[in-house]
């Protein structure tokens, strides 16, 4: 377990990094009358055309800095931890951890399927939880999927979307990455519900909950292949913003 001192130091380091990034960003303001380039928006773009790449992003300045912050956080803290985990843990054990984490979070799938009135999916989720917790020995195996009961992933962001709530402004969350106001609300709501009424409340032991949260963070990053600035494209921020928005639309429409 990470000692309290170390946690404080890490938090301090992260905050200092954030402060530097914001300060660095503000210094650079240019507003000069320059000779226009060969191709300008005025002589190239037609009026009344919609752009897939346009996503409502009023906090863009802050978001871009958080995007960079996440890159550094990944590089110096998160990924080294994940790679160490991958190095010392055999593949089959990693899979067991993933199964276990997924099984515990069936709680959120259950509540959100229920909130969307998806009776069938709610039943499948309940059955999955029962099968995997018993036959799957506390969830470390996933016999439910192999017997045709597939995972019905839903979160509160999707639930809000299902009931017609729009994206809201795009937000890059520290550490968690691309999101928007609706999905951030979803993440917070899911987390609160999970800890107040879900498995942590059933267990009611802070140390176990903390250990589980750390395991979850590492396991989820381990399963996420996304890496900041991997494309090398100067337009990566815009591309990721567009793709995140589309991905969520697909998940909500499901």
């Amino acid at each position: 377990m990470i000692s309290k001192n170390k946690t404080i130091r890490l938090t301090f380091f992260a905050l200092a990094l954030l402060a530097v990034l914001f300060a660095a960003g503000c210094a650079n303001q240019q507003n000069v009358n320059l000779e226009p380039p060969l191709h300008t928006p005025e002589n190239t773009l037609k009026e009344g055309v919609e752009y897939a790449v346009d996503v409502y992003d009023p906090l863009e300045g802050m978001n871009r800095r958080l995007y960079t912050f996440n890159y550094y956080f990944d590089k110096f803290i998160f990924l080294p931890v994940v790679y160490t985990y991958e190095f010392i843990t055999p593949d089959f054990l990693e899979e067991m951890v993933s199964n276990f984490v997924d099984n515990v979070f069936e709680f959120n799938n259950l509540t959100n399927n229920l909130l969307q009135g998806k009776v069938n999916e709610t039943g499948i989720t309940l059955a999955r939880f029962l099968v995997n917790t018993t036959i799957g020995i506390g969830g470390i195996f996933d016999p439910a999927t192999s017997s045709g009961l597939e995972r019905q992933t839903e979160d509160f962001g999707q639930t809000l979307g299902y009931w017609g709530v729009g994206n809201g402004p795009y937000i890059v969350l520290p550490i968690l990455g691309p999101s928007n106001l609706r999905d951030t609300t979803g993440i917070v709501t899911d987390a609160v519900a999970f800890s107040l009424a879900g498995p942590p409340a059933w267990v009611d032991d802070d140390d176990i909950t903390l250990a589980f949260n750390i395991t979850t963070a590492i396991d989820k990053r381990h399963r996420q292949s996304f890496r900041y600035y991997r494309t090398g494209s100067p337009f990566e921020y815009e591309m990721i913003r567009m793709l995140y928005t589309s991905k969520r639309k697909i998940e909500i429409d499901r």
Binding site: A24, G25, N28, Q30, V32, L34, E35, P36, P37, L38, H39, T40, P41, T44, L45, K46, V49, E50, Y51, A52, V53, D54, E60, G61, R64, R65, T68, Y71, E150, Y229, R230, T231, G232, S233, P234, F235, E238, S246, K247, K249, I250, E251, D253, R254
Partner: protein
């Protein structure tokens, strides 16, 4: 008599049958555009080890060069390598247009060659932003001769750095698409400089004339999306809708490398239009990345005002929108020609176009037994007649498959075996 005739006929028939069996090439997509987009879905691909010990490293080619803030994540030249324990040959891989050293095709090649016992060093294409910013002499990509010379310098610099770590017996070189054409030019430079003395060089799906190929790719966008990029939004929404439906109704669909194939199988598009559009759009996105990087590095005043220094967190989306409307030919006229005309005022556009072609090293390609070629009859980046030209130049050194489009079949077992086997024939000598 009748009996004899019957026997003769059945022998003929058997021969014919075995002939056609020997030639059977069962790559799944006969449509050239589908092949180019979907490549080789995993169920048809050669099974290769997933995890290979890969190291990523970087070098600085131009220590005095200042990289503008907007390009900060790529201010050093990145590459990857896999090393073998004990003596083994070393192969350099060169990526295709706009691709990095860790593009899907490159990763697959790395697995194949590492698995076959080679040391591997992988390089991003000279048209990738990272190369343009940190390793290109002019930062004006597309000039075959100059880009290849830059590649050669990068190879030497990396080898300088890694030679203590690898026990290399001999050197090989390969590349796909644009990287294939560059490999040939690099091989020719090596004939003079002899830094590596490449024993064998393999070109996979090269263009013949760069200009012809980029015009084809630019046109595909217009054919696939009537009205071009102005109607991209509609096309994109349709695409997302198709993705959504597949995700909703398809059987156990996940967002991974095979997703596009699942969508294709689910939707079974009736025409080639969406495929052509996808190829065109993907080429256009590569071009946007390439041209913005070049514009920023050379201060050409192409889409970014001259003298405006773009910083780390500056919004670049309006430049992206403008660039999405511009073709490769626009870049050729707007940045490329002015740059090279400043160096050589006598050069004309037609002369330059002619220069950017394998035909300029025709003699070398015809007379160099070390250079081999893998191509496809239906490669979309070739004009009619260009595949015949390649067949004529390489003769028995060419392996041409009936299908595969542009690089679509590179992960197909026959192709992987041909690719690796080309180099292994010298290994056994």
């Amino acid at each position: 008599m009748l009996n004899q005739l019957y026997r003769l006929m059945s022998t003929c028939f058997c021969l014919l049958l075995s002939c056609s069996l020997a030639n059977a090439y069962d790559y799944p997509f006969a449509d050239r555009y589908v092949a180019t987009v979907l490549g080789t879905p995993s169920e048809f691909a050669e099974v290769l080890p997933k995890d290979i010990p890969t190291k990523t490293d970087s070098i600085i080619m131009f220590p005095d060069r200042k990289i503008p803030g907007v390009l900060w994540p790529i201010d050093e030249f990145y590459y990857s390598y896999q090393r073998q324990d004990g003596p083994a040959p070393l192969i350099f891989l060169v990526a295709g247009t706009g691709a990095s050293f860790k593009s899907g095709k490159m990763l697959n090649m790395q697995r194949a060659f590492y698995h076959a016992g080679f040391n591997v060093i992988s390089l991003s294409s000279p048209t990738h932003p990272n190369f343009i910013a940190t390793a290109s002499t002019s930062s004006v990509p597309g000039h075959l001769q100059e880009d290849s010379a830059d590649l050669y310098k990068v190879m030497k610099a990396i080898w300088q750095k890694l030679q203590g770590k690898m026990d290399v017996t001999e050197f090989y070189l390969t590349g796909y698409s644009l990287g294939a054409a560059q490999s040939a030019f690099v091989a020719k430079i090596d004939e003079q400089e002899k830094a590596f003395n490449f024993k064998k060089v393999l070109m996979i799906n090269p263009p013949v004339s760069l200009y012809n190929s980029v015009v084809i790719l630019d046109d595909l966008l217009m054919q696939g999306i009537p009205g071009g990029m102005d109607n991209f939004d509609k096309f994109y929404k349709g695409l997302i809708k198709a993705f959504g439906e597949t995700y909703k109704h398809g059987k156990h669909v996940e967002f991974n490398d095979n997703f596009l194939y699942e969508v294709y199988e689910y939707k079974k598009p009736k025409s080639d239009d969406p495929m052509e559009a996808l190829i065109g759009v993907s080429f256009r996105i590569s071009s946007e990345n390439m041209v913005l990087t070049s514009d920023v590095m050379t201060k050409a005043g192409y889409v970014v005002p001259k003298g405006l220094e773009l910083g780390r967190n500056d919004d670049v989306s309006s430049y992206g929108k403008v660039l999405s409307r511009l073709t490769f030919v626009d870049y050729f006229k707007g940045i490329f020609m002015p740059h090279f005309k400043a160096l050589d005022p006598n050069i004309t556009e037609p002369e330059m176009i002619k220069e950017l072609s394998l035909r300029t090293i025709d003699d070398y390609l015809r007379t160099s037994p070390k250079i081999g070629l893998i191509g496809n009859e239906d490669d979309i980046i070739l004009l009619p007649g260009e595949i015949d030209y390649l067949r004529d130049v390489f003769g028995s050194r060419a392996t041409i498959y009936p299908h595969g489009g542009h690089c679509g079949n590179m992960a197909y077992p026959d192709n992987v075996k041909a690719m690796v086997g080309f180099f292994q024939t010298t290994l056994q000598k």
